[in-house]
Structure formats: C-alpha cells, structure tokens
Amino acid sequence: MAKQNIVIIKYNAGNIRSVNNALIRLNQEAEITSDPEKIRGADKVIFPGVGEASTTMRFLNESGLSEVIQSLRQPTLGICLGMQLMGSHSEEGDVACLNIFDEPIRKFIVPTPNASNLKIPQMGWNRIFNLKSDLFDASLEGQYVYFVHSYYVAAGSHTAATTDYILNYSSALQRDNFFATQFHPEKSGPVGQRILERFLNL
C-alpha cells in the first residue's frame, strides 16, 4: 500500500497513540494533530477516543473541531468514544454530539435479575455480526474484537455491525464517508488489523 496522508485528530483524550502504533504495523504513519487545515487536507481521518463525552464535546466545540469533523468529505473513522461523539446526543453528561449519525447514545443498564453477572463497562472480546459496510469483508463475520464501553448506540438505519451485550446494539456505523466502530480495531489482533487495512484501502 502506498504511503497515505493520514491524520489522527488530537484532542484531550487518553491513549490515542495506540491507533498510530497499529498504522505503523501496517507500514503507514499518521500525523496526530488538531490543525483544521491538516485534518481537511488528509486522505484519511481517524477520530479515536477514550474519555468522557461531555468534556470532550466541550473541547471539540470550543476549538472549532466539531465543524471541521462534520464537514469532512474523505473517509473518516470514529473509534470508541469517537463513534459515540458522532451520534446525536449522549447520556454521558447529557450532551449534544456531532450528529453525523442521527442516533442517540445510551447507557447500558444491567438486567434484573442479573443471572450472568453482566458487568458495566463491557470489557473484553465480543463478536461482530450482520456486517454491512466496506469496512468489512465476509471473513470478518462473527469474529471477535476488543471492546471497552459503558454506553452504546442502538441498532438503527446506519448500523454496519451488531454485537450482543445486554441487548443487540450497533458495534459499527456507516453513512457515506463516515465510518465508526465501537470496538478498538487497534487492539483487536489480526482481525482489527484487517479492518484498519480495509479502511486505509477505501
């Protein structure tokens, strides 16, 4: 694969370097930046995230990054919190989000009685089904990927993958050039690597 101009959007979030490490393993490398010009000019944009929704949305709004992300035309991948922030509204801090996907973000509620001792957050490996996006190929149906999250997007019209935890929810979304995964492809072994590779090949 030829070297691409990939940008990882930098904001006040946790371990975003691991996404770049995954790109390095694919012989690519991203620039980690919050410069709007560089983001707009990239071939591919990755919007990763670990953190809290309302604090992060405030930062994105104040820095003008919200509008930059909403106006992107190149393939753009939201990961974990990045996916949730692309939704319409998050219950985490009751905050309006980027509304790239018209889907609200809700908190997992453990069932009562909780016979299987389901925990929040969902932390660990779970399977992706009903794959429906150029992000995936047929070999990825039912594969395990790594999740850490307490909030989810319900299954809806933009659902590109579903996963079963407490309920059947959207573990990936797609609309036009916007792609999003609730799981961490950069931490999902060879399966995740394959998904990132497919994103880079879009």
Binding site: G14, N15, R17, S18, N21, A22, I24, R25, V50, G51, E52, V110, N117, L118, K119, I120, P121, Q122, M123, G124, W125, N126, R127, Y144, Y146, F147, V148, D164, Y165, H184, E186, K187, S188, G189, P190, G192, Q193
Partner: protein, 252 residues
C-alpha cells in the same frame, strides 16, 4: 456474548522477563516483547507486565519497554508495579499502556484511585488486591508488599470502595492460593463478582485447565490470570481455550 479472558502475566526486572521461561521454540527467552508477541499469536486475550525492579534506572527501562510493547503488540495490556503517583501512570499511558494496575499505593492512599480515574478514565485503572483468608469467619485481610504486610482493610469492603472510587476492574490474588497450583479462590471470587458491577480478574492458584473452568463457573470471574503454567508450557493458551470451549465456556 462477551468472552471470558485468559491473561498471561510476565514479571519484568530491568526490562527483561525474570524467570527462565520455557516457551515453544523461542530462543531469546529474556525479551518480553518477543514473549508477548508469542502469547498474542497464541490467542491470549490480554497481557499483564509487572515491573519488579526497585531502582530508578530500572523504572526508566520499564517505560522504554512499555513503548516497545505498545508498538509491537496488537492486544490490550496492563502494566503494574511501583506506580504510586499520577506522573508514574501518565508516563506509562504516554508510552502506550492500555491500563495500569495499582496495589499497595492504593491501599496507602485510596484517593489515588479517584485521581487516576478522573485523569485517565476508569477503564485505565485496575486495582490489584492481594489478600489472605482470615482464620475465623469469611473475610479476607488485604496485604501489601507482596503479602508480607497485613493491613486493616478487608477484601470485600476494600474492593467495593475501589469500585466506588472509580476502579475499572479488580484483580484479586489470593495469597493462600498463589503458587500452590490447587485452583483459584472461587468462593471469594464469586462473592466479589456478585457484589461488584465491574469486571473481576482471578489470580493465584492455576495449576491445571479445570482450575480455569472453576474460576469462571464457580468463581464467576470475568478473566483469569496466570504466570508459571503458561511460561513453563504446562498449559498452552490454545489448548486451554479448546478445553474451555468444550466445557461450554465462551472464549475467543
């Protein structure tokens, strides 16, 4: 369904794995990155690296090692050992660690859990608890410094407090079971799992594959950690997963 996790743990001193590890055909047995890659390849779900170095220089070596691990390993990993301040955790976060585990320092200064969760998110904070069963009753005494010092804290209340302060997971090691290879402390694990809403990692006591099954079924653990059975190749990760699958346990 969410899979139960199998987590090999590597002890690191001065940037190298401590024990002489027999592991497949790997020649450079001392290099943690190579070992970690082999475990990841075999289907380990996560890895834990425990720094047992005491010196300041050793600590710096460990951070550099974490950097290399993060670059090469494509599954999540936790690092622990000697983390007593926010800046220790931050250095490891910046080096690429997915989670840190804190133990004695959290017992001495519980506020550390709040501070870490607030600064880096709960998903980053594993609270490790080493405990010994008390002679009378059902409670367990929390110990520090590798089981050498007993504290006033008790396992179940301390684990609950850690959860309330923002811990993302509890890594419970029974000092009575650790190294004995007679199975995990399943009763205590089940109590923890039922009374807390965050994941519980079982540690200490793995000797055979049945022990893992019991930790998941009786102990209701979300994950199980072991060191020597994996390092000495008494149990391989693929073999263990095949066995657990046959026993009806969901594994990756």
């Amino acid at each position: 369904m969410l899979a139960k996790r199998i987590i090999p743990c590597l002890d690191i001193k001065d940037g190298m794995t401590v024990k002489g590890i027999k592991f497949l055909e790997i020649k450079a047995v001392g290099d943690p990155v190579e070992l970690a890659a082999a475990y990841a390849e075999q289907g380990a779900d996560e890895l834990v690296f425990l720094d047992i170095t005491a010196s300041h220089e050793g600590r710096k070596t460990f951070v550099e090692l974490v950097h290399r691990i993060a670059l090469h390993i494509n599954i999540p990993f936790t690092v622990g050992g000697g983390i007593s301040e926010l800046k220790d955790a931050e250095a490891l976060l910046n080096a690429g660690a997915d989670k840190i585990s804190i133990n004695s320092s959290a017992v001495r200064n519980p506020q550390l859990i709040d501070d870490m969760a607030k600064n880096f998110g709960s998903q980053f904070v594993v609270v490790a608890i080493d405990a010994k069963k008390e002679a009378e009753g059902h409670d367990w005494a929390v110990t520090v410094n590798g089981g050498r010092i007993f504290t006033e804290k008790r396992l179940f209340t301390w684990a609950k407090e850690a959860e309330e302060r923002g811990a993302g997971e509890i890594l419970f090691t029974s000092m009575d079971h650790d190294g004995v290879k007679q199975g995990f402390a399943n009763k205590a694990l089940a109590t923890l799992s039922e009374s807390l809403s965050i994941p519980i990692i079982a540690s200490g006591g793995a000797g055979n594959m049945e022990h893992f099954r019991d930790a998941f079924v009786e102990g209701r653990a979300d994950a199980a950690l072991a060191a020597s059975v994996f390092h000495y190749n008494e149990i391989s990760v693929p073999q263990l997963k095949t066995y657990l699958r046959k026993e009806g346990i969901v594994v990756r």
